[in-house]
């Protein structure tokens, strides 16, 4: 018996929750859960974990585009059926992990993975650029200021050498969010690629009362830029809102609350680059990413300006940072003035905070470094 539209509540099952994780563990994982002793990255993309009793699990990590079709998932199931007792897992950064219980099974598994051509690149371990966490973009989202899968593909193509190697000073976490809502939570990433708007919302006066709660639209603005307004539509006065454009910071929160206030625009929208965030508590405390490039255009289909900018930051960091230093730790050690000099990124007023808590970021000491930025004073 399947779903019966005439009796939708008969036989209905709800609140099952997720499937129990214990049913999905590969045998070697199930047998040794909680008794792992140490691990080693044997080579890029291949991990070995050793349990107290000497049992080993070898994991091969592969990058994925995150957008995955039914065919694609069936391909990875075929690989796991052939080599991994019918089990696999994903990482929090959208990599796929295939696990086997002895070293002699690694090369045959790799051979099968490689038989798919470039579909499942092996890497994403250690001091590398691992997969980019990202959002939906134009593929599925209603508020994006850029695409997600396209810029990710273009950036990963360019940084591919860093995915399958471990030559950087530390791991570099790149993330992309296609608007300021940040479903991708890029606010604590080594390099954040963030879609931004630059035009205030348009007001579709004919639709405001039909689709919006006006008080909620007004309350949605953190800067009080949305005000009540009486508009004339077809000769009749209707309740609507207006926006004080000078106060608008282009966050898009009003559009989230009110569909009659669209703000996306081909010329207005683009990408900002933020750097130096981290989540781990290792050595230094978690840090927020900081805005270093305020705007790059949505130059489809491959976002060359974004790709070049990310590479520029990565190469300067790789050349100058000390072993174990994350990008943010490097920038703090050398000073942000040196960061701009070494990356050759122009410093603009847009990087100076003038929003909440801005004063915390202003320099209130005579300690600074002389760089090209101070040349006008020292010549």
């Amino acid at each position: 018996m399947g779903y019966d539209p005439k009796n939708p509540m008969v036989g209905r099952i709800t609140d099952l929750g997720p499937r129990y994780y214990g049913d999905f563990l590969p045998p070697v994982i199930k047998a040794n859960k909680g008794t792992w002793l140490y691990h080693e990255i044997v080579e890029p993309g291949v991990l070995m974990h050793v349990a107290e009793n000497g049992a080993k699990v070898f994991t091969i990590r592969c990058g994925s585009p995150r957008v995955a079709t039914v065919n694609y998932i069936r391909d990875i199931c075929d690989i796991a059926d052939k080599h991994c007792d019918g089990f696999l897992r994903f990482t929090t950064r959208n990599n796929i992990e295939f696990m086997v219980d002895s070293k002699d099974k690694v090369e045959p598994l790799k051979a099968t993975i490689k038989s798919y051509g470039s579909k499942f690149p092996i890497g994403g371990t250690g001091a590398c650029v691992t997969n980019i966490v990202h959002t939906q973009g134009w593929l599925h989202c209603h508020t994006p200021a850029t695409d997600a899968s396209g810029p990710v593909k273009a950036v990963m193509d360019d940084l591919f050498e860093y995915f399958g190697s471990m030559q950087l000073p530390a791991q570099v976490r790149i993330a992309l969010a296609c608007c300021l809502n940040m479903c991708g939570a890029v606010h604590a990433s080594d390099i954040a690629i963030l879609g931004i708007h630059r035009k205030p919302p348009m007001i579709d006066h004919a639709r405001v009362t039909g689709v919006c709660e006006i008080p909620l639209a007004i309350a949605s603005c953190p800067l009080g830029a949305v005000k009540p307004f009486k508009a004339i539509v077809n000769g009749e006065e209707v309740k609507s809102v207006k926006v004080n454009a000078e106060r608008c910071m282009f966050c898009g929160n009003c559009y989230t609350m009110c569909p009659a206030m669209p703000l996306a625009d081909p010329e207005g929208d683009g990408i900002a680059i933020l750097v130096g965030g981290k989540v781990s508590n290792s050595k230094s405390a978690p840090k927020f990413s900081k805005l270093v490039v305020p705007f790059l255009p949505n130059n489809t289909p491959r976002w060359p300006e974004v790709v070049a900018c990310v590479r520029q930051i990565l190469v300067a960091y790789a050349k100058d940072a000390k072993k174990y230093e994350r990008i943010g730790e490097w920038a703090e050690r050398i000073g942000w003035e040196k960061f701009f000099e070494k990356t050759n990124l122009p410093f603009t007023e847009k990087s100076i905070d003038d929003y909440r808590l801005a004063y915390d970021t202003w320099r209130t000491t005579t300690q600074f470094k002389y760089t090209s930025h101070t040349a006008a004073y020292t010549k």
Binding site: W36, T92, S118, S149, D157, P262
Partner: protein, 428 residues
């Protein structure tokens, strides 16, 4: 459905990273609506703007979350994506799957949807991307009856909790992240499916302070593994690292591709300790654990020599969120150490969760994350509501302004005074 020309997207079939465009094109052979996905995306690439309408309220009976409505704004051009709703499926804790389950899900999605997914969404759910309204109930029926699984969260409710892989394959995990994640997800099914909160609320469980699931940055309620005794040291293994034994690569081999030279324990471990609490003495590595802040760096670098302590539990941090609207917040350290114990149904963690909810559901404003409510009322008020004694660990440093909100009962004689009596002694 017609095949569309996609000259711009075709450029994304080049290069070494796997191409989602190639994948979608191949899928279009059996799921022709994939052509309309590509067609509409091509139009967005041409016009540099999205073609999805704002929102759309759809769902299954009895649930207020789990489905995100989506409609094309050019349905005549691309009828295959006229409705393109997202289905969020609650993921198994730790993201392990059997191929049997994945294949069943794919069969389901081939039958009822576009054939396109995300593994996974940002919060952790499996995402099935694109189906029609009339398919939602039949899909949900088969999902629950045949696959024995369920939708995840969306909207102002508890979002599907997520965890790192924990002690299933990691030696550093200080508690069983999968077990508590699964257990609390089951316990709070009502809160996940029926929105009753001021705004979204996320749990994330990380097994150690490396925080692989980004709990401190992304969750309203972050449970991060830690320990309360001493780092366990294997001195013989320390010597192997110092000697450069090939079986003992620094940082577990994470730097194998760089020319960093021979491992130097002084430079790479002792000098990088943020609290300066390590030194070599008589050929042994010493740690003053009373000074240690459990950052993980030394353990990360020498995993065969150093291990987290044996008395393990978790630190609870509350109130993280992305920047909308007043700026991003990390979660604030509220409870230094709790036991995470399955035997008592994770009582110590559950008590804190429910106390936070009781308060936030009362005082939280519409669309206010708990971290924002905490900011609005202040940390002292939050701690008092939570019946937690303030300790120096709650702050990075004491306040530098003197504007304390004294309470009347703290001041002898209270605040009621008689200005007439005052004037008898003090002429105006």
């Amino acid at each position: 459905m017609a095949k569309h020309e996609t000259p711009l997207l075709d450029e994304l079939e080049k290069g070494p990273w796997p191409s989602f465009v190639t994948d979608l094109k191949q899928q279009a052979a059996t799921k022709p609506e994939c052509w309309d996905i590509l067609g509409q995306l091509e139009l967005s690439y041409k016009e540099r703007i999205t073609h999805w309408k704002h929102g759309g309220i759809v769902g299954v009976f009895g649930y207020g979350g789990g489905i995100v409505g989506r409609y094309s704004d050019v349905p005549k051009l691309f009828p295959g994506v006229e409705h393109f709703h997202t289905v969020r499926i609650a993921q198994p804790s730790g993201l392990y799957y059997s191929t049997e389950n994945l294949r069943s899900l794919m069969n389901l999605w081939e039958k009822y949807g576009s054939g396109v997914t995300n593994f996974h969404g940002s919060t952790g759910d499996m995402i099935l991307l694109g189906t029609r309204t009339e398919n939602l109930e039949p899909l949900f029926w088969d999902l629950t009856h045949d696959l024995k699984q369920d939708l995840g969260g969306s909207g102002s409710n508890l979002r599907t909790p997520a965890c790192c892989l924990g002690n299933s394959r990691c030696e550093w995990s200080c508690y069983d992240t999968q077990e508590i994640c699964n257990s609390l997800t089951q316990r709070y099914q009502d809160e996940i499916h029926r929105p009753a909160f001021p705004y979204k609320f996320k749990f994330k469980f990380s097994g150690c302070p490396n925080d692989c699931v980004a709990a401190i940055a992304r969750s309203d309620f972050a449970v991060i593994g830690t320990w309360k005794d001493n780092i366990r040291i294997d001195q013989a293994a320390v010597q192997k690292y110092i000697a450069g034994d090939a079986e003992y690569p620094a940082n577990a081999g994470a730097h194998k591709g760089g020319n960093w030279g021979k491992f130097d324990i002084q430079k790479e471990v002792i000098a990088l300790c943020p609290t300066d609490c390590m030194w070599m003495e008589g050929g042994e590595l010493k740690i003053d654990d009373t000074e240690c802040t459990r950052c993980m760096h030394c353990i990360n670098v020498m995993p065969r020599a150093l291990r987290p302590g044996a008395e393990k539990g978790a630190t609870i941090c509350i109130g993280a969120k992305a920047p909308i609207l007043d700026g991003a917040q990390f979660a604030t350290m509220i409870i230094p150490f709790v036991e995470v114990d399955k035997e008592n149904d994770f009582e110590a963690v559950v008590d804190v969760i429910e106390k936070v909810w009781d308060w936030w559901m009362e005082v939280g404003k519409n669309r206010e994350r708990v971290g924002e409510t905490m900011q609005r009322v202040g940390l002292p008020t939050f701690l008092s509501v939570m019946e937690i004694e303030p300790i120096p660990q709650h702050v990075k440093e004491p306040r530098s302004n003197p504007y304390v909100f004294w309470r009347e009962e703290e001041v002898p004689g209270g605040w009621e005074r008689d200005v007439v009596e005052f004037r008898k002694r003090h002429a105006a």
